[in-house]
């Protein structure tokens, strides 16, 4: 069922057109990376503050609160671009182990949020009042950093797995060659 969904998705008019453009994929990937710089930078600084390693002169509530909204915009940009890339080659991503791992880790981020939201992120002012930073806040930060860095690494790994060509229905055309290597690009929609 999931497989037929990703096949349907990549052959919708929009994603077929996206796949057919040589420029679209790298441009969307660049915007994805810009989103990572914005979102990732703010996640890292928030986590480093909770751990007590960065921005120590600033209260935790200041740091958590001022990054909250821009962080969401950064995440929105990253996720939107990520979805565009996924949609254009959905079937290939479906088989990609790094992509699958990345989705599992993203689900774990949701779990992390559910576990720590109330105690840590929703009320950072309480953290400042405590004599010592509560262990839960530090744990939340450590888990968050570990998950997000792993997600970024899995994202990079996606590009290193060769697609199972016998199972992919999006048309593969040899494009340019360099030193005998064949680059493959995904073009238009053949009838599956």
């Amino acid at each position: 069922m999931l497989l037929s969904f990703v096949q349907w998705l990549q052959f919708t008019g929009f994603f077929t057109a996206l796949r057919g453009s040589a420029y679209a994929y790298p441009i969307v990937l660049s915007l994805h990376m810009i989103g990572i710089a914005l979102f990732g930078g703010m996640v890292l600084m928030t986590d480093l503050r909770l751990l007590g390693w960065a921005m120590r002169k600033r209260s935790m509530s200041d740091v958590v609160d001022q990054f909250r909204v821009p962080k969401r915009w950064g995440l929105l940009l990253t996720v939107t671009c990520g979805f565009l890339m996924f949609g254009s080659k959905a079937e290939e991503y479906y088989y990609n182990s790094f992509f699958r791992t990345k989705l599992i880790l993203l689900a774990l981020v949701l779990v992390q949020e559910l576990v720590f939201y109330r105690g840590v992120y929703a009320n950072p002012a309480a953290l400042d009042q405590a004599v010592r930073t509560p262990v839960t806040a530090k744990l939340a930060a450590a888990v968050s950093m570990l998950l997000w860095i792993s997600i970024a690494c899995c994202g990079r790994g996606i590009g290193y797995i060769e697609p199972p060509l016998d199972k992919i229905h999006a048309q593969l055309l040899p494009r340019s060659t360099y030193e005998g290597e064949t680059a493959i690009c995904f073009l238009s929609n053949p009838t599956p």
Binding site: G40, M42, R58, D65
Partner: protein, 149 residues
């Protein structure tokens, strides 16, 4: 070739370095962008740009160092290819300009409490660092001597 770069002996080294490169640029470009947004008056309401820069400069520098060293090692894996790769060359122009801009004009503007051209400086900074990212991504999509597409 007389000397074999140990980097090319394992398939895992290059992607691992790329991961360091990504974390390095998230840290450096991310913190620089925060200061730029602060200059633009977008978010970051609890601190002045100068305070924010004071709190983050060391992490910016740390991120730059990670990014630069991992980048040099990545480059060493196949220098000829990078030398012929036009997005790489454009990226280097953007990178050198962005670093120089960051430690001269940008630093001065951020340090003064009421920078006259604060918004312009922020936009230039964001544009230069975006150029670095675009160049970096396009490296992998172009083959030397062949145009894209």
């Amino acid at each position: 070739m007389l000397i074999t770069n140990p980097l090319n002996s394992s398939a895992l080294v290059f992607p691992t370095l790329e991961c360091f490169h990504i974390v390095g640029f998230a840290l450096s470009i991310g913190t620089i962008a925060m200061v730029d947004f602060s200059l633009l008056g977008i978010g970051m309401r609890r601190q002045s740009p100068a305070q924010l820069a004071k709190d983050t400069w060391l992490w910016t520098l740390g991120g730059l160092v990670i990014m630069l060293f991992s980048g040099l090692l990545l480059f060493s894996s196949d220098p000829d290819m990078y030398y012929l790769n036009w997005p790489f060359l454009i990226k280097m122009v953007f990178f050198v300009s962005a670093v120089i801009f960051h430690y001269t004009v940008h630093r001065k503007a951020v340090a003064s409490d009421t920078p006259p051209n604060g918004k312009l400086v922020a936009w230039v900074s964001l544009a230069l660092w975006s150029g670095v990212i675009f160049g970096g991504v396009f490296i992998g999509f172009v083959y030397p001597g062949l145009s894209l597409g």
